[in-house]
Symmetry: D2
Amino acid sequence: MLIQLTEDCTHEELEKITALAEKAGFKTSKVDTHNASYIICSGKGEFDPRRIGTLKGVKDVHMVEDENKLVSRLWRVNDTELDLGDGAVISRDNLTVAMGPCSIESEEQVQKTVDFLLKNQVKIMRGGIFKPRSSPYSFRGMGIGGLEIFARHCREKGIKIVSEVMQVSQIEPMYDLVDIFQVGTRNAQNFNLLDALGKTDKPVLLKRGMSSTINEFLASAEYIFSSGNERIILCERGIRTFEKAYRNTLDLNAIPLLKEKSHLPVFCDPSHGVGVRRFVEPMALASVMAGADGLLMEIGEVPEKATSDAQQTLSFEEARQALFKMNKTFELKKELSFKFLSE
Amino acid sequence: MLIQLTEDCTHEELEKITALAEKAGFKTSKVDTHNASYIICSGKGEFDPRRIGTLKGVKDVHMVEDENKLVSRLWRVNDTELDLGDGAVISRDNLTVAMGPCSIESEEQVQKTVDFLLKNQVKIMRGGIFKPRSSPYSFRGMGIGGLEIFARHCREKGIKIVSEVMQVSQIEPMYDLVDIFQVGTRNAQNFNLLDALGKTDKPVLLKRGMSSTINEFLASAEYIFSSGNERIILCERGIRTFEKAYRNTLDLNAIPLLKEKSHLPVFCDPSHGVGVRRFVEPMALASVMAGADGLLMEIGEVPEKATSDAQQTLSFEEARQALFKMNKTFELKKELSFKFLSE
Amino acid sequence: MLIQLTEDCTHEELEKITALAEKAGFKTSKVDTHNASYIICSGKGEFDPRRIGTLKGVKDVHMVEDENKLVSRLWRVNDTELDLGDGAVISRDNLTVAMGPCSIESEEQVQKTVDFLLKNQVKIMRGGIFKPRSSPYSFRGMGIGGLEIFARHCREKGIKIVSEVMQVSQIEPMYDLVDIFQVGTRNAQNFNLLDALGKTDKPVLLKRGMSSTINEFLASAEYIFSSGNERIILCERGIRTFEKAYRNTLDLNAIPLLKEKSHLPVFCDPSHGVGVRRFVEPMALASVMAGADGLLMEIGEVPEKATSDAQQTLSFEEARQALFKMNKTFELKKELSFKFLSE
Amino acid sequence: MLIQLTEDCTHEELEKITALAEKAGFKTSKVDTHNASYIICSGKGEFDPRRIGTLKGVKDVHMVEDENKLVSRLWRVNDTELDLGDGAVISRDNLTVAMGPCSIESEEQVQKTVDFLLKNQVKIMRGGIFKPRSSPYSFRGMGIGGLEIFARHCREKGIKIVSEVMQVSQIEPMYDLVDIFQVGTRNAQNFNLLDALGKTDKPVLLKRGMSSTINEFLASAEYIFSSGNERIILCERGIRTFEKAYRNTLDLNAIPLLKEKSHLPVFCDPSHGVGVRRFVEPMALASVMAGADGLLMEIGEVPEKATSDAQQTLSFEEARQALFKMNKTFELKKELSFKFLSE
């Protein structure tokens, strides 16, 4: 059960509601987000929701059987929309694309990427400044200095920034320089990081852990939401399976399922998902048809020269072609969703 | 290396070619299919292909590094096309759809399905008469009797039939009654069955084993081809992973990879792949965008009453909607593949 | 529910029992094995087992909730024992070892292996004559001719034979020449083969499918049992996971679980399981401690020269050392199972 | 290549060595641990190690092809031993056991566990105070307060403490209260945490990520080592596979492989590995036979009452029996490793 509280719910009203819920056998957790306050009732309590619905301080009561209640579709009429400003709105009604290099490497690289994005109406740029690398001896990113260059060029032109945060102590220095915090697959169950991101008011793009089940993925989102931040994007990026012909196994099955289970927008990262340049475009188009609300893609002027992920990075020209096709595909997808054939 | 022989290659010429290849360090296998004769040279031999190319009896010599040589794209200019008659042509230029129940259950069911297919321009009907069931106490299919009913109704109307064969002894009684033999996921490495199907001249739709790698999948196709039958369709149908939110994990990454590695047509079975009715349509559309040349889908008048796979079977009305959308998606896919934007 | 019938149960008695069970809501299947007759009642029926227990023709009634009823431990007081003659008894009370080459290759090889086994008190020899190979161009075994040589040398010395059968048509020619039919991992769900082996009276060593769950593995055994053959050995041989550092991931967790769920003996194949020669011995010892009743191991005089599986084959000397250690480990295991420390 | 420096290596000598290595085509990283200083040369350089070996400042040069050089066995003659004091020495020569509850819950619980450990000669106690829980609404541990109680009771009696650290900011407050920092499976690739633990001088028990390959696991250890801390224990704890009959799939194959590839001690956690109480003991015994140097096990006076992991926790009596058997098994393992049978 999920109880939404009124904005003016008093401390006494809250205590009364909590007491009633616990008496009915629930374990309660109070959640305050930037938008609203809730009481999450877990476990199996038994009583009449109408009795609680009429209490003072209660705005609404929802019977949500799902384990991950706040991110569940079962209580929210409207899907979550995220307005980043400058016309960048993430929602289920339009296709959002974020493109950029794996790692920020130089001012020139940022400048050229921004130019490309502007010319092609792409509103969000991705780029890593802290890089999780499997070997400690690999390039680990330019750090905050790189982000400052990144932000300077993007801010000027109204391009929004998504960049990966790897630990709690990076949140504060990154805060003013990014528009979306990205949580990488290796940190998908770094609960302290999720908690801390829940305290911010910036959108969080949460990647699926490489061996996370759908339920675990949603639980990670629930961590962020229940710590206070409702602005979350789910991102499928490939899972680990026995198959080694691709870098990961991009799991498009997850997209319609996540959209059914949650009100959050669902993105897809075909670059990491399949990990092979010439399969990125077909997988991107397939993601759109499966229902993805957004795409995260690695691009570069000369992909072969990238310090990381070169083999899965599209050239600017490839990206331009892919964009055109992705938009066409999204248009068709939208059209088909309204079409109901008569016999 | 793969040596194509001329049609009139004599025994002596053959011996000469073979001797030369073995002297060069190759292990040779002679392959005779319904179309042509080949010598497959495995292992690492070293010599000048031009020397063999000029021998009498040799039509062409191809350097094919792939392990699975006959099914490889590396030597075939044209992709494999399968003409089943009555206008049913499987190729990379059009979208083939095969629909029908999981199991053939009654004459009435066959009749109604055939009517649905005719009305909706679907040219192939699927339906199982031998059912691989995980429990020995489950319904195991109507057997040949069911296939006779199935065939009678389809033949009359020009609908082609695809049905699963589970063992060598079933090939002969099924032969006259099917247009495509289907090999199920549990038999994907039943090498004796593959060998025996290689001796027939009917097309074989080979499903990927639920834990087959792409290479193993192609090796299974190579078994059929090298036993004599070039008419093969590859079919992705979901792999086994840690995720249990869907029946299997439909692996769309396989589609562009298989189309790149092999000249064979590549189908997709979203019904088994995701295994949840309301996700079958989005996954079907996604498969088309990923490049599938055909789709295999379970449909039924009243899915809930099916003896098997009810939860993944589309109703006739759902199938009709899905067909319309799949065709629209394929049209767009085709259009986009010709589009090259100028700057 | 599982109903054991008396040996002299008449047709009329049977009909009465069946009718009563079906009236109570069960789906019934009659099973006749070489040992006894049963009625398997699936689904959810509801009634008092005592009512059926008193009917004529009924020997015993067992409430077996497990899906795979005949192989379940829930109704059998005693674990299955298989007496192969010449002192080779497979049971939970002693450690059975079967050793031999991957493939039978020559008379000399068989002879030397038999000599080694005799000298080291190993009573069963393994060896393949039909080889499932991922490439159609690999050596596929000597066939029945090889088995004849194999059998001639073993019969003389009282060594028992286990060899893989790959299809139904091989059962008959192999029947007189083997003591145990082996079903390989790729045929673990080849239901026709399982059915046919259920009609024989020879023990069947059933390997776990490389992606079979424990329940599917037991269902495959249930196929054999319900077709008439109670003499089954389960064999864990490694599953397919994301880890590629070993050939397969030998899953020792399966051993205590299978022994708890089933009355059948449980073997382990560390050679295929881990697939790396120097890890075969530690994994064999670990299997024994996990509770394995028997071990299947690949050995050869000069492993490097084997036509298949060379990298996982122990030399005779390594095998001798391993045997000594396995026996010591089994002794300790047995001793510890009787030890109950007082405070 | 791995270059060990002398203790008195001067800055100029260092520069000379580095310059030579880079000129030869290597990428160099300087590593200073609490024990020694190294230069790690990655990539493919080509030159004569003897030339560098004679330079001033160089203690030794090792050709280590492994990607993870510092944790590799290829350069270390002696396996890593960790002396925790009070007779608790972790090494390949004796079996180390750490037992305790999943979560520290009360003073009484700690006291009773300490009493049990003392009586049974167990020298290390495990217990979580920060708990990674899949749901944000579950009990997340007593925090530092709990650790203070935990430490007070253990310090008095000479029992050593291992407890999980989940984020960088917890290292400092935990430092004085633990003897071994544990890194959990969800943080196995939390590289910032690994780096920070590399700066401490306390031993780190690193659990394998639930989908980490062996190479990734070793790379995580390399992170800690290359940040300065050589005192690392590797711990296998089960991987994620398709099989859901156990909580995880304890992968014993990893044990002999890790011991071959690395000089670090290798532990095993059968409690999380198989996750079912009655299979914990057989899997513990199997781990010992596979070569585990230590075991981590969950125990409790009344397991059913534990706030977490109740279903995999042994009672004190079960733990006592298991200990006896584990020690006996280890004795045999050791005896067998010295035994070389003559013909």
